[in-house]
Symmetry: C2
Subunit: 455 residues, 2 copies
């Protein structure tokens, strides 16, 4: 029987969570997809998880359920499991997930677990532990189908059979020469369509994109996307095959990177999602960003104090300060976001900076004309009694502030990129509060120029 979805609705979930061990056990063994059990766990308290995991009788299914759990929760969860249970999970997993688990253990437990693993698994995990978590090496698996170039289709099929019996997903057979250098691959479908005695050499696809283990996972995702790949071999500098990356891990990478970028642009981080109800840790994550914002806004305050005599001589000026500041902030956010996303998706790079800068300044001018006119009219005829000079000050300030904000929205992320800092952080409090400062300076200067007419 096929179905759209194996998920339970909320009511069923709650009923199930309160039922006894026997019914939970029966439910877990009846669910075909481990992902649905993972989703079920997400609705229970973390304290319940070890008990619930133990109720999944099939150890392979239990390991798959564990693999599906958000990695940010692994550490908490592993601390509640016995070493034997952790070892059993590790043994059921492919090398990349096994390594991720081991990497999350405290050093003392880590050695205990490694000691319990069979020699080959231990060697795999130790090898993978050597790569940064967010590199190609950190997301590759070492289990793969590899044959020599003088093999036949039948040899390749035997190798595939061995792996499938070990529950390894096979997507292609990699072909190496006598020196163990990668020379190409054969697609599964080609093995299927050719006779057992066909030499592998005759089916060999030699144009193969490869990646070095130290390449960042975001770049790896870009390669998958560009070449429409399902799997990608990882090789060292001498073209020796080290492992392979599979598309489902790339789907996770894409989701994770999009998340990181979005949150960083708002001056927070993914760590916050880890403790959805923890007030103190949330505040701690957000505080540093706000400190920058506070610093900048205290500069604004000092500027206003310095300009106090000017403002006091025409207090109506105060009313339009938030308008200039808010509009500049918004234009700056728009232009910096466009550029940050351009950098992230490689649609823009630093060589385009001057062209984009020039464009944003012109866009700022255009928008300043439109909104400066609106705000100027309101200033001159609605909020004041035909004070045309106030309208003029607002109009001119708005144009200059919007051009400056557009420019700053290009310069801030470009500067960060040049300094090899993630440009995304500039979109948040930084550009907005910087624009507050320049907005005040612009508005005060223009007002100062027309002061005689305003009083």
């Amino acid at each position: 029987m096929t179905q759209q979805n194996f998920s339970l609705d909320n009511e069923e979930l709650h009923q199930l969570l309160e039922s006894d061990d026997a019914s939970l056990k029966a439910y877990f063994s009846s669910v075909p997809y481990p992902a649905d059990i993972t989703e079920f766990l997400d609705h229970a308290d973390l304290q319940q998880w070890p008990r619930l995991l133990r109720l999944i009788e099939d150890p392979e299914k239990r390991a798959e359920v564990f693999s599906g759990i958000d990695e940010m929760k692994w550490q908490d969860l592993l601390a509640r499991l016995q070493p034997e249970e952790i070892t059993a999970l590790v043994l059921q997993m492919e090398s990349d997930d096994a390594t991720d688990i081991v990497a999350k253990l405290p050093i003392s437990v880590r050695y205990d677990i490694l000691r319990r693993l069979p020699v080959e698994e231990r060697r795999h995990v130790q090898q993978l532990l050597g790569y940064p978590e967010d590199s190609a090496g950190g997301i590759m698996q070492v289990e793969l189908a590899q044959v020599y170039e003088d093999a036949t289709v039948s040899d390749a099929v035997s190798r595939v059979r061995e792996l499938v019996e070990d529950d390894v997903e096979v997507l292609a057979v990699w072909v190496v020469n006598k020196e163990d250098r990668l020379v190409g691959y054969v697609a599964l479908v080609d093995l299927l369509l050719h006779k057992a005695t066909t030499p592998i050499r005759s089916l060999l696809e030699t144009d193969v994109v490869t990646v070095n283990p130290l390449v960042d996972q975001e770049e790896v995702a870009h390669i998958f996307k560009k070449y429409d790949l399902i799997t990608l071999p990882v090789v060292d500098e001498t073209n020796r095959l080290l492992g392979r990356i599979v598309i489902d891990d790339i789907v996770d990478v894409l989701a994770q990177e999009a998340e990181e970028d979005a949150l960083r642009m708002a001056g927070t981080s993914e760590a916050e999602l880890m403790h959805p109800t923890a007030v103190f840790s949330t505040a701690r994550i957000r505080l540093p960003w706000l400190a920058v914002a506070l610093g900048c806004s205290l500069v604004s305050a000092s500027l206003l104090k310095i300009f106090a005599p000017l403002l006091e001589s025409a207090t109506i000026l105060y009313a339009f300060l938030p308008v200039i500041m808010a509009m500049g902030g918004n234009v700056g956010t728009q232009s910096s976001t466009i550029l940050i996303r351009g950098f992230a998706t490689e649609k823009a790079d630093l060589s385009d900076m001057w062209q984009i800068l020039f464009k944003e300044i012109r866009v700022g001018f255009l928008m300043g004309l439109v909104y400066g006119t609106c705000a100027g009219v309101v200033a001159a005829f609605i909020l004041s009694k035909h004070n045309v000079y106030l309208g003029l000050v607002v109009f001119i300030s708005m144009i200059i502030a919007m051009m400056t904000a557009g420019a700053m929205g290009v310069l801030a992320p470009s500067l960060l990129k040049k300094l090899k800092i993630d440009p995304a952080i500039s979109a948040g409090p930084f550009v907005t509060t910087m624009n507050d400062i320049t907005g005040i300076l612009i508005y005060m200067s223009v007002a100062g120029f027309f002061l005689k007419n305003l009083e």
Copy 2:
């Protein structure tokens, strides 16, 4: 020979772009991956593209290069191609890409092209044109390997062979019953590992996740991610197999949705990326968002005018207005972003709203305590001459403003979600400028309360 990457560096690109047709032709036929030719086109002017495309001699490669081009550029490009050329492209493409091309043509050309297609291709395209572009039906292909449940491995292999000869990528064989209802699938690897005479029924995997053609592509991506799929069958309500979705299209969907969300949060849209140098169209896209911001900030201006007598009696109050407003805006952006991302990734839903609201208010209180103290001290002892009451006003306002901003950051996206509007739009100008208004009201009320002490 294998290599990391077939991309050219900038200098090589420019040299090549200026070389004659013969060398370009030679280059295009030497590049193994069409994606690298697409990347090369991205560096040339759009006007050059038709000429460059014509220099790719292999029509299949030309179609693959075209498929790789950003869909936002298709319309411009198609307008520069002859109907025969468009037909040739469509004929080489799988049904989903072919439909996307046809959908981008003006109605008059569309019928001309459809008329030129063979009956079967035309039927496929016409069928797919019926689904919304961003639905499961809009991204599925109708070409797939399907056999009846009484078939043998050898029958399935023959069907796979037919498709491979037509350049269709086969990832699984779908199995239907006599009434054409989907009953399961057989993995390619299982065909490879079993004898030709094995009945398909004995290899059948019946637990298969399916999707309805009208499901949104973002939900489809979520299903791929959850179940670690490579391909997903699309069925109608009676479980009749309509087509299949392949992971590489999902990778594009994920990238596209992340992009849309990020840009929408800044009050702009992907359409802007289409014309990187077009000042007028960029301004047109951003103007409506800024109009909302302008409206809100003019409300701020009116409020300040109303409170003018209060402010004039203690002008130092003005200096801290930007501080209260900026900090509220930042807290609001942080809390709304967390919730918007939570909604987007289905980690949060409306039933969690009260819990999150309560949390954000407490976080706001905590951060208000910290930053209110800092700003209050600066107000009382640095920017004024020991005006302790000014410090107190700033301190209290900051706490209330941050709690309100945190709450608004939860309420605004939740309200939009309830109204079935994309919550992402609330993160931009909306929350920030709303916070400006409440910030002014809070600050003025607190200041009014202490007015006697401030004067």
